[in-house]
């Protein structure tokens, strides 16, 4: 009985908690404890969000375009680097330590630099996205490629498999779970990366829009934009989860 309660709780408790926070927030603003122009209430944010949707659409598309382009490029490059490192131990030895050290650099701080180098078009934003997505992808891919029991490779060797066959028949599929964990992180980073890139200036994008409404002190619109960014990241995350679900049918079979 108690166990059952625990199971229900695991899913509903966070929702109840979130609802409680929102109600509390709404009350604080409605009672005038905090002024509206400093903190808009949740209801305000949602209403404004719906109102600005038509004008924000173009910004949303731009940000999405930058994020997805950057993510794709990062996937391709991380795959290439991971394959190289996996096949050539010299490259692995040379790159691995740098990779780990570079993880500690907050890549976002490079955004102003990119703006100076590449101007105010899409390119500097895409560069930020590539950079923030690249490392979680490479690291998770390498981890995945190393997770395979080496006896699988010995078995394939005994069947005269070549290196490419060992890679695509055994190594790569075994790296998929790790790859997808990395991809989910990278996907959420990609939206934030694009927005931060846009803060440095540009014609369109959620980051550009945010800067504009902030400068006119429309705090409710800032909040609404943040909400949209969060929502976008979540949707991307869920899409990747769905792709993983579709690409890895054997996992479903095990759970049945």
């Amino acid at each position: 009985m108690r166990k059952k309660w625990g199971n229900i709780g695991n899913k509903t408790i966070p929702f109840i908690f979130l609802a409680a926070i929102l109600v509390f927030w709404q009350l604080i603003v409605d009672r005038g404890i905090i002024a509206r122009y400093i903190l808009p209430s949740p209801v305000d944010v949602i209403l404004v969000g719906m109102k600005i949707l038509p004008e924000i659409k173009v910004h949303l598309y731009t940000t999405l375009q930058e994020a997805l382009t950057g993510l794709m490029v990062a996937i391709v490059f991380s795959l290439l680097l991971a394959m190289l490192m996996d096949n050539f131990s010299l490259i692995q030895k040379a790159v691995q330590p740098l990779l780990i050290v570079s993880q500690t650099i907050p890549t976002m701080v490079l955004a102003p630099l990119f703006a100076m180098w590449f101007g105010f078009g899409l390119l500097p934003k895409i560069m930020v996205v590539i950079l923030v997505c690249f490392f979680p992808l490479v690291v998770s891919l390498l981890e995945g490629l190393n997770s395979l029991d080496p006896d699988f490779l010995n078995l394939m060797k005994s069947m005269k498999a070549n290196r490419w066959q060992m890679f695509y028949l055994a190594k790569f599929p075994s790296a998929l779970p790790n790859f997808f964990s990395g991809l989910k992180i990278a996907a959420t980073y990609s939206i934030i990366g694009a927005v931060i890139g846009e803060w440095m200036g540009g014609k369109a994008g959620l980051g550009v829009y945010m800067t504009r409404v902030r400068q006119s002190f429309a705090l409710d619109k800032v909040f609404a934009t943040i909400l949209i960014i969060v929502f976008l990241s979540l949707v991307l995350f869920k899409i990747i989860e769905l792709i993983q679900f579709l690409l890895m049918p054997w996992r479903r079979a095990i759970n049945k």
Binding site: D149, D151, F152, N154, S158, M159, K160, L169, L176
Partner: protein
């Protein structure tokens, strides 16, 4: 003189049809000797077992024959030809079943064909006639995680067989199975071996299994492995399950038990 002798030896080997000969295997692992001067042979259509204590170096001997590990000292010859360190000359089943979790049974068993360059469609077509013989009918589209231990071993065996070399190395294929399944699988293996006519080199540390299956048994010592004794099993074939309770069977069993300790 030596030449003459070699020629005579060569024809003698041809006459009794030696498929595989291992000569003077000696191997170290990280400076520790694990195999010492091990020699044996396998005739055509023969079932030969290497029996020895856990960790004595049996799997290492198989890895050496298959060319997976570099050989310190010794020679492998197959059909009279030197195949030392040569890969792809034998069908080799590992101690672990090593089924790829993301491939269905039919594609797992087709792996050797895929590696040889068949398309998935062609490979599947070639597998289908063997599913019944290997007791996998109805399971071909399941994933390995959905199978019982016995079924997984059958799948691993079929995959080994699909590499289609006439020498088959089986490393403790039934090691992880319960006694009942194990006994069924042994009986089944004899039937299959009879139908597909292969020369089988088998590893186990189960004495009864060794006697029941084999024509000859090599008893190995503790690490470093040496050949302590060669035992010919003259039990008649085909062998019924009850043979394990016969007096002759128990005499051999006692003998090997004594030899092992």
């Amino acid at each position: 003189m030596l030449r003459r002798l070699l020629i005579i030896l060569f024809y003698w080997e041809r006459r009794i049809n030696i498929k595989l000969r291992v000569s003077n295997f000696t191997q170290q692992y990280e400076g520790m000797p694990i195999i010492e001067d091990v020699s044996f042979y396998l005739q055509e259509d023969e079932f030969v077992t290497l029996i020895g204590p856990s960790g004595c170096g049996k799997s290492t001997i198989f890895n050496m024959i298959a060319g997976i590990v570099p050989i310190d000292e010794g020679k492998v010859s197959i059909d009279g030809e030197d195949c030392t360190g040569k890969i792809g000359q034998v069908s080799y089943m590992y101690q672990k079943d090593l089924l790829l979790p993301w491939k269905r049974v039919i594609d797992n068993t087709a792996l050797p064909l895929i590696i040889k360059g068949d398309s998935i469609k062609e490979a599947r077509k070639k597998i289908i006639p063997y599913l019944a013989l290997f007791g996998l009918e109805g399971f071909e589209y399941k994933y390995p995680a959905q199978l019982s231990g016995g079924m997984r071993q059958r799948a691993a065996l079929l995959r080994t067989y699909m590499f289609s070399k006439d020498i088959v190395l089986l490393d403790e294929p039934f090691g992880g199975l319960d006694a009942i399944t194990r006994s069924k699988m042994q009986y089944w293996l004899l039937e299959v071996a009879d139908q597909v006519r292969a020369s089988v080199l088998f590893i186990t540390h189960d004495i009864e299994e060794a006697i029941y299956l084999s024509d000859r048994i090599y008893v190995l010592t503790e690490r470093p492995a040496r050949v302590r004794e060669e035992v010919a099993i003259s039990l008649p074939r085909p062998r019924a399950r009850e043979i394990v309770t016969s007096a002759q069977f128990n005499r051999i069993k006692k003998h090997i038990l004594f030899s092992l300790s």
